[in-house]
Symmetry: C2
Subunit: 111 residues, 2 copies
Amino acid sequence: MERIPPHPDVRTVPLQRVLEALVDPVRRSIVTQLCDAAADLRCGGFDLPVSNSTATHHFRILRETGLIRQYYVGTARMNTLRRDEFDEAFPGLLDAVVSADRRSSGAAATA
Amino acid sequence: MERIPPHPDVRTVPLQRVLEALVDPVRRSIVTQLCDAAADLRCGGFDLPVSNSTATHHFRILRETGLIRQYYVGTARMNTLRRDEFDEAFPGLLDAVVSADRRSSGAAATA
DNA sequence: GCAGAACTACGATGGTTGTCAAACTTTGAT
DNA sequence: ATCAAAGTTTGACAACCATCGTAGTTCTGC
């Protein structure tokens, strides 16, 4: 039996849904961390300021928005960024958001 | 006496604020219409599905986010897109959002 | 000066949503 | 078989925000 609900076709996801997904700082942090990571990450492998149940909620929204793909490895739920598919559906958006997010988060020394 | 509150320096506006501004469909419609318009538009010149007072609310948020600049001409409040400044602060973001928005709104015939 | 046009400001309200704790499920190891 | 680990699900709660109507402000024209 499948433990993970089906992933949507990103091209059918409306822009509204995408922006609603990316407007939340926690979800944006997930996306950014996934973008910076060399490999896929399990849910518990993220640095998040919320409880487990809240994190689950955010992962679900990202999955339903078509931003991430989830799959199980043992008891660990892995997450991968659906970059290519998403870029095709929303060209330039992920790059712009993630880049701006990195500037914001890593804003410390500009000298 | 100034009738319009001061406009922020776009570079000081956090990404969070920008996304919160762009996530609202009415505000995104304002930005898109402004993008498509040849000249500046007065508040009453937009095609919006909300009351006047609500529209004012949205214009204020866009101004405070640094996306639009407002100025009076008689009794008419004019609006202009701060494209260059915004693009410098958030490269690629406006383009990605407006492009995707146009695809969504104008989605009718693909034949 | 007065009327009207064009917006804005002010409360008030309703719906949405991010948050948590507690209980549950599934898998892997002992 | 049992136990722990890793997440999920459910229900409840609080905060935020888009929306509206009404009243107010500023300018133009007569």
